[in-house]
Each structure stands twice: as C-alpha cells, then as structure tokens.
C-alpha cells in the first residue's frame, strides 16, 4: 500500500465536499412538521431529507457528467445545478400551495424586514404561528444551500470514482458521507432553520468542526479501503 500525492488530494476533496454539505444544510429553509401545517416559515419537511433529496439529485447529474468527462469543473457545476433545480422546483410548488390553497401570505417571524426585498414581515405573521410560506430571502438561501449540497455531493463522488472506478460503490459511499454530514448539521440547528438570516445560522462553526472530524474519519476509510482490500 502506498500513499502518493493523488491519494492526499482525493482525501482533501472528500473532506471539503463533506464540509460543503454540512454548511449547505444551514442555508436550507426547513420548518419541519409545523411548516407543513403553515405554522412555521420554510419548507415543511425534515432537514436531512430535503438536503438529501436535492444533493442526491445533484449526484445523479454529476454521475452522468462524469461518465463522459474527467474534468472536475463541469462535474461540480452540473451537480450544483441539478441540486438547485430540485430544491427550487420543490419550493416553488410548495409556494403555490401556501399562496393558493392555504391562502397565507409568506412571512418570516425571525426578521422584521426581508433582507432582500425589504418587505415588512410581522404584520403578515398569522396569530399563534411563527410565520408561514417561503419568502424571497428563504428561497434564495435555499438555492444557495442546494448549490453547496450539490457541489459537496459531486466533490465526494469525484475522488471516490477516481479511487475505485465503480460508479455504484462510489455513489453509495457518497450518499453515506452526505447523510452523516447532513445529520450532524441538522442536530446543530435543532431540526429547523429559516436560512442565512436566521440567528441559528451563526452556530455554523460548531457544525463545521463536527463535520470536519466525521469526514476526516470517513475520508480516511474511503481512500484506504481499496488499497487495503486490494480493489473490487
């Protein structure tokens, strides 16, 4: 078994990918079950599930791109775009239901004014709730989070593919690393966050450290498993 420069670069790519996933989750505006009852701002589902849904859609796009090219940049970019398309389609169709079925105007309870549109928020927050719907700042934040998740997923997949050359094994391993980092970040934000304007967002350094430790361990396993086991 030998460790050359390439192995170290692959290892670093996996670590950076994991960190991107961990930080990206902080951008995704998820309100959990209360949001599905229009009781909280954001998307009505769990953090990990949504991050996984978008990041893995990006992984599918990145996998397709990697089957035709070895250049890392289009692979990362197409991973980001695939994830952003999934996240935006989800948020947009969710907005239709908030606006046209529940009939609630979008409002965040964490800020008085939307940082992007400067719209006032408190007058539109229904009594007994902490906001509802997906205001512009949450939508933009979700798009950024999806892009980071997509790049992260692709960045984990790329070196794994270079190491073992098996798309199925690399994809499953990438999904595993993705889930670990998404869950760690989700614990850090206690399951719900509105986006980069939420006060909880300031806690990201804690998730950064936790994801760093976990991804270093997983990255070591990933780069050593093929040399140690003698390939597949």
């Amino acid at each position: 078994m030998s460790i050359d420069t390439n192995t170290i670069v692959y290892f670093l790519e996996i670590v950076v990918g994991g960190l991107l996933v961990g930080i990206g989750v902080h951008f995704v505006p998820v309100g959990g079950a209360p949001a599905a009852m229009a009781q909280a701002t954001g998307i009505g589902t769990g953090t990990v599930q949504l991050a996984a849904g978008s990041g893995l859609t990006g992984l599918l796009s990145a996998g397709l791109m990697m089957s035709v090219t070895d250049n890392i940049w289009p692979i990362l970019a197409t991973g980001a775009v695939g994830a952003m398309i999934m996240m935006d389609a989800t948020m947009l169709t969710g907005s239709w239901i908030y606006a046209y079925a529940v009939g609630a105007p979008f409002a965040s309870a964490k800020v008085n004014y939307d940082p992007i549109t400067k719209f006032s928020q408190p007058p539109y927050v229904a009594p007994g709730t902490v906001g509802q719907g997906i205001p512009t700042v949450c939508f933009v934040s979700g798009t950024i989070g999806a892009a980071m998740g997509g790049i992260g997923g692709a960045m984990i997949y790329y070196p794994l593919m270079q190491i073992n050359g098996n798309p199925a094994m690399s994809a499953i391993f990438a999904i595993g690393i993705f889930m670990v980092d998404a869950v760690l970040a989700s614990w850090n934000i206690q399951g719900t966050i509105e986006g980069f304007h939420d006060p909880k967002f300031k806690k990201w350094p804690k998730a950064f450290k936790a994801c760093l430790v976990s991804t270093v361990i997983l990255g070591l396993v990933a780069v050593l498993i093929v040399p140690l086991a003698g390939g597949v």
């Binding site: 009852m37 796009s61 947009l92 004014y113 007058p123």
Partner: protein, 301 residues
Amino acid sequence: MDAFGMGLVAAMGALATVAGASEDIDSDIGSQSNPNSQVQLAAQVGNPHRIYNKAIAGEPPSNALWCTTAAIMAYVLIEGFQMPLLFAAVAGASLAALFDGVMSTSAYLGRNASQARFNQWIYLDILRYTTPSIMAHVWITSFCIVLISIIQVYVLTPHHPFPIPVIALIWGLTVGAIGSSVGDIHYGGEREFQWRLFGQGLNTMLSGQIVRKAEAGLRNSIDNAWFCAKFGGPCTGMGFGLTVFLDNWRTTVFDPVTQAGAAIAMGLFFVIVMNLYNFYCEVSARRKYGPYPGYKGDIAA
C-alpha cells in the same frame, strides 16, 4: 440532440409527474409524514377518529425503500433472467406494493392499539378498504420510478453509469422529499383544519383539533384523498416532474461532452426563472390577502 431522446425525456417527465402525484396521495391516504403528528395527537387530546394512521418512516426513506425494492427485483429479472423491461418493472412494483401493504397494516394496528387508552379504536373496515388503495398508489409510484431508472440506464444516451437500484433509491428519496414538502401542506395545512379561519397558518392552540366529520357521515382517509387529489397531488407531481424533466432536458438538448457549458447555463437560467416566479407568488399573496387584521405592532405593512 435527437428527436428520440427528446421523446424519452418527455416520457420521463410525464412518468415523474404521475409518480409525484400518486406518492402524495398515498401519503395523504395513510396520513404519513408531517400531518401524521396531528392525526396521532388528535386521539390524545380527546378526538378519536376514523383516519388511517401509518407512519412507517419519513416519506423519503419509505419511498426510497419501495422504489429500491421494486428496482432490485426488476434488475434481477432483467440482468439474470433476460426478462422484458416493462414486465420487470411491473413485477418489481407489485413486490413493492406487497411490502407496503404489510408495513401499512402493522403500522395502523400498532399505532391505534397503542392509543387504546385514549379511546381510539381499530376499525377493521378502514383497514380492509384503505390498505388496498395505499398499495395501489405505491404500485404506481414505484412502477413509474423504476421505469424512469430503466430509461436512464438502458435507453437514453448517454447511458447513466449508476445501476437501476441506486437511481431508484435516489429518485425515491427525492420524490418523498418533494411529497413531504409540497403535498403535505395541502393535507396538513388545509384539509385537516378546514373549520378554522381561511387564510392563516394553524394556530398552535388548535393542534390536534382535526376535522373528523365529512360531507356525509364521518370523515375517512378516502375523503382526504378525494380532496388532496385536486391540488396537493398535482402540485407534487409538478414539482417532481419539473425536477426530472428540466434536469434531463438540459443534458439531452446540449451534448454533455461538447456543450457542457451550455447545459449548465441552461440549468442556471431555470433556477433564476423559478426564483423570480416565487417572488411573484409572494407579491401576489401579500397583495391579495393583506396583513392580518389583529396585528398590533408598530411595523407598517
């Protein structure tokens, strides 16, 4: 770009739309995912009901399980026994529906039995005629997703390098995430609480006070499917259909080898358009409904 590829991408988009809609209606009939918290709470706050209650897992993992189960069976039939693709997809979806039937039944019996102290009954008639409709919807979802995976791996060029079960796992997770984020709002935010004032989110004080009476008689889960199939289901289908169609369209129209930049730029264009559309929705909702009348703060609307 070739016409055959475009036709396939359009077929994938259509299959994804159907899969998304049936996935959402399956979760509405079973009260899975987010709205389950209210159905579960209802009996505990003194409102026993006749709504089906199955929370096997979160929607994304459970759908990933059905779709992967179906895809593994299809994969074995195709690779090991050289069966026709369509037959393999049908057989796989049937297996997934059977798995779902077993888990739904045990979830309904277990959850309601554990609430016996709150006077919540197990209704055998509900179990008998609701479980098959859940299984039917799971069949449709997993059939469509296995077919999308088969198209991506065997037919559409460039062929996807992942095997069918991995693609089905990812699409299953994605369709569940979309169903949980989109369709659940229609069921949890609107259908479960139709007696509160229209146009506001659920007041925390009303948690668990779900509607238990139907247009005639007592409400059951089939009534909920009838309501949610009008808007929540199609919206979920639209969300998943857009994801599958737009993501594959850009790499089919533009050759990923020579025109990778154009494919990425086209994706970014879609993202910007969707951001603008959401802004339009926000502005139109604020204009139509206005601020809440009881607001007493000092920030102008």
